[in-house]
């Protein structure tokens, strides 16, 4: 049922909003922002900070915008008003009198609502000259848990964090203690803030009272470049902003997507970029006759791979296996490779993992696999040969029987496959389907193992040819999450020299097998894929909306 719209005039601009919207939300639509601290669209409205006071025609006292619901046409609101400005200055003054001058050492500087509003709405001088600022001795840097550090002196008592643990994570670790100007947030003595979403309180804290243990003192935010991306920690597909500087990722922050992760992401996801610099493969390698791995050029490596594949194809013993870490476009190229080699032995591994839950307005988002894009691989056709994308999707959610990829790995034991091309995408030292001793043992039986990956792993130790490819931060592409939603991520920075993107490497291989193959860029590969996938008809990579598109969900 469509919601009814009502009109409201803010500083002379009349706009239409859904009946029941509050003034703070409406103000964004009108192109003016009512300053606020305690209000958050997903938390209960408390009207505490008093920063959002505005003047409503016909109402004698200033009213808080967050608690004012627009129910009928004709409300006239003024923000650009002397009385409102005086109130804003007054509130800013009250907040600043006891706030420490920590900006030079505070992580929040540059993304601090106190800084921003004091510049925009505050006064340029202080009248608090002869009194001592309130402090919370001993609480300047207390870890509330493994991921969050509290500096109580900086807190402006907005209680967003407390309400988050009550209402969103529903774990109730944080409370509001004491009374009056002594009020403070904290955990029950002896307990910890330790739930899967705990770092979200750092995101929503308007000031630097709550900081992330991981990001503390890591980087000044104004040096960070921000790239819209996706978290690859599981198949939930949380939208993120990948923040980086000069080729080093500094932080993941959730990027709002109401259909997917809403405003949130989990603590684990925030750690997943940390391994992107460890044990990087920086050059193609090939095992020589003596069994030693030697650095080779890309041409040498690709040429060798090409020959091994062709030979293996002739004997009918080529297998192509991908972990669900491959992007949809990389998976599509793997499938083209398999088609060109006319091998039925291709597949993507299914790797269940810990359940990760992200609350949203539609019953929540869940990740159950440790790789982000198995469904994307199936969409690209890397499922069992002869299955179209929709049927592949249907098999995506069936849990029990080993898939084709598992069978291929198992078959390697019996020597059924002479050449195995494996797309890894795993972190050094991580536990996954291709790192376990049993899998590695079976791989040793195959004649030739080619691995595409970005880290030196147990798998690359047993490979015959290793092709170093880019992490997802160093390329662009799409992933399909547990909701069957296709989402894109952009490239943050170029891969290190010597490393190529998966699309570059695989396009080259496909091109050696098919003279008619011309796609080079990710976008071109996407177009090819879209051309043969009904649910992607008419969509291009550039045209893909920032929030992704929902693909048809296969029936149970």
């Amino acid at each position: 049922m469509p919601k009814s719209m009502v009109s409201v005039t803010i500083d002379g601009r009349t706009i239409e909003v859904e009946a029941g919207s509050n003034l703070v939300d409406a103000s964004f639509k009108a192109g003016v922002q009512i300053p606020h601290y305690c209000y958050h669209p997903r938390l209960s409205i408390v009207g505490q900070c008093r920063m959002c006071l505005v003047k409503i025609e016909g109402v004698p006292k200033l009213q808080t915008g967050c608690t004012t619901r627009i129910m009928k046409d004709g409300m006239v609101v003024r923000i650009d008003d002397q009385e409102v400005r005086a109130a804003q200055e007054g509130m800013m003054e009250f907040l600043l009198i006891n706030h420490p001058l920590d900006c030079p050492i505070c992580d929040q500087a540059g993304e601090c609502a106190l800084q921003d509003y004091s510049f925009k709405h505050g006064q340029a001088f202080s009248r608090f000259s002869y009194e001592d600022k309130r402090t919370y001795p001993g609480k300047e840097r207390i870890p509330l848990g493994p991921n969050v550090v509290l500096n109580m002196n900086r807190c402006i008592q907005c209680t967003r964090c407390v309400r988050f643990t009550e209402e969103i994570s529903q774990t109730g670790e944080l409370g509001f203690f004491q009374r009056g100007s002594r009020t403070e947030i904290g955990v029950f003595p002896g307990k910890e803030l330790d739930n899967p979403l705990s770092t979200c309180v750092v995101d929503i804290c308007p000031v630097g009272a709550l900081t992330s243990t991981q990001f503390r003192f890591a980087e000044r935010v104004w040096y960070l470049d921000k790239t819209p991306s996706l978290c690859t920690g599981c198949d939930a597909g949380c939208n993120i902003t990948l923040e980086h500087r000069q080729g080093k990722i500094r932080r993941y922050k959730p990027r709002t997507n109401v259909e997917v992760n809403d405003y949130w992401m989990c603590d684990f996801g925030r750690t997943t970029f940390l391994s992107y610099e460890e044990d990087r493969l920086t050059t193609p390698q090939q095992r020589d006759a003596q069994g030693r791995m030697r650095a080779v050029t890309w041409d040498q490596a690709l040429s060798s791979v090409h020959h091994f594949l062709v030979d293996g194809a002739a004997m009918g013993t080529v297998g192509i296996v991908a972990r669900g870490a491959a992007t949809t476009e990389e998976a599509y190229l793997l499938r083209l490779l398999a088609d060109s080699l006319e091998t039925p032995h291709r597949g993507v591994l299914r790797e269940p993992g810990p359940v990760r839950s992200i609350p949203n307005l539609n019953g929540g988002l869940t990740g159950r696999e440790i790789t982000p894009n198995r469904r994307g691989a199936l969409l690209a056709g890397l499922g069992p040969a002869g299955l179209g994308p929709e049927d592949s999707e249907a098999s995506a959610d069936s849990a029990t029987s080993p898939g084709e990829a598992e069978k291929i790995l198992g078959g390697a034991v019996n020597g059924a496959h002479s050449v195995l091309l494996i797309f890894d995408g795993g972190r050094a030292g991580s536990d996954n389907a291709l790192s376990r001793p049993a899998a590695l043992e079976s791989l040793r039986q195959a004649q030739t193992v080619v691995v595409l990956g970005w880290a030196s792993t147990a798998l690359t130790q047993v490979a015959d040819i290793v092709l170093p490819i880019a992490t997802h931060a160093e390329t662009e592409g799409t992933l399909v999450n547990s909701q069957h939603r296709l989402q894109k991520f952009e490239r943050a920075f170029l891969p290190p020299s010597g490393v190529r993107t998966g699309v570059e490497a695989l396009s080259d291989l496909v091109g050696r097998l098919r003279s008619d193959f011309a796609a080079q860029t990710v976008s071109e590969v996407f177009d090819l894929m879209a051309g043969e996938t009904p649910s992607l008809e008419g969509i291009s990579l550039a045209g893909l909306p920032a929030g992704g598109i929902q693909l048809p969900v296969p029936p149970e």
Binding site: E166, G172, L174, G175, F177, F188, G190
Partner: protein, 161 residues
């Protein structure tokens, strides 16, 4: 976030149980429950009392702690056998309330919120107790003592066990 169960003493649990039919929510039992628990634990709420009440009412410990630290009559550390509250608000101050507080502190040889060496008493200056016609006055445990002088206040304290 289920922790190990902290069981309240039976008399406290029974008192809380008896109250359940008078309130529509468990949460509403919190202040009465804390009063019962504090009485049982001799005037203050140690950690086991707090966790016990939290467990009994199925509330997060942080929430219970938030309530305790909000109110002046709930104590997180021992207050001695007797809690002395001397009113120092305006009407009592005009009639010597601050002098009474100083006299009491001197008599017990304590600073505010400190328990006397013999464990008998702690004292604090307090806000208006609603007995301004009795100024200056103080509250010792549950009773008001009106029209004090420094000497009469000391005498009252001396007679406490």
């Amino acid at each position: 976030m289920k922790e190990t169960k902290s069981a309240l003493p039976e008399d406290v649990r029974n008192a809380i149980t008896e109250l359940r039919r008078h309130y529509p929510t468990e949460e509403a039992l919190l202040l009465p429950a804390l009063h019962f628990a504090q009485k049982h634990w001799g005037g203050w709420l140690p950690e086991e009392a707090i966790l016990g009440v939290a467990d009994e009412l199925n509330l997060a410990p942080a929430k219970v702690f938030g309530v305790i630290t909000f109110y002046d009559l709930f104590h997180q550390s021992p207050v001695g056998r007797h809690r002395v509250r001397v009113c120092t608000n305006l009407s009592c101050a005009l009639r010597g309330g601050n002098e009474i507080l100083e006299a009491v502190k001197k008599h017990l040889n304590v600073a505010e919120n400190e328990v006397s060496a013999d464990g008998r008493c702690s004292v604090v200056g307090f806000e208006c107790l609603g007995a301004c016609e009795q100024a200056p006055m103080m509250m010792v445990d549950d009773d008001y003592h009106p029209h004090l002088t420094p000497d009469s206040a000391s005498k009252i304290l001396e007679e406490l066990d």
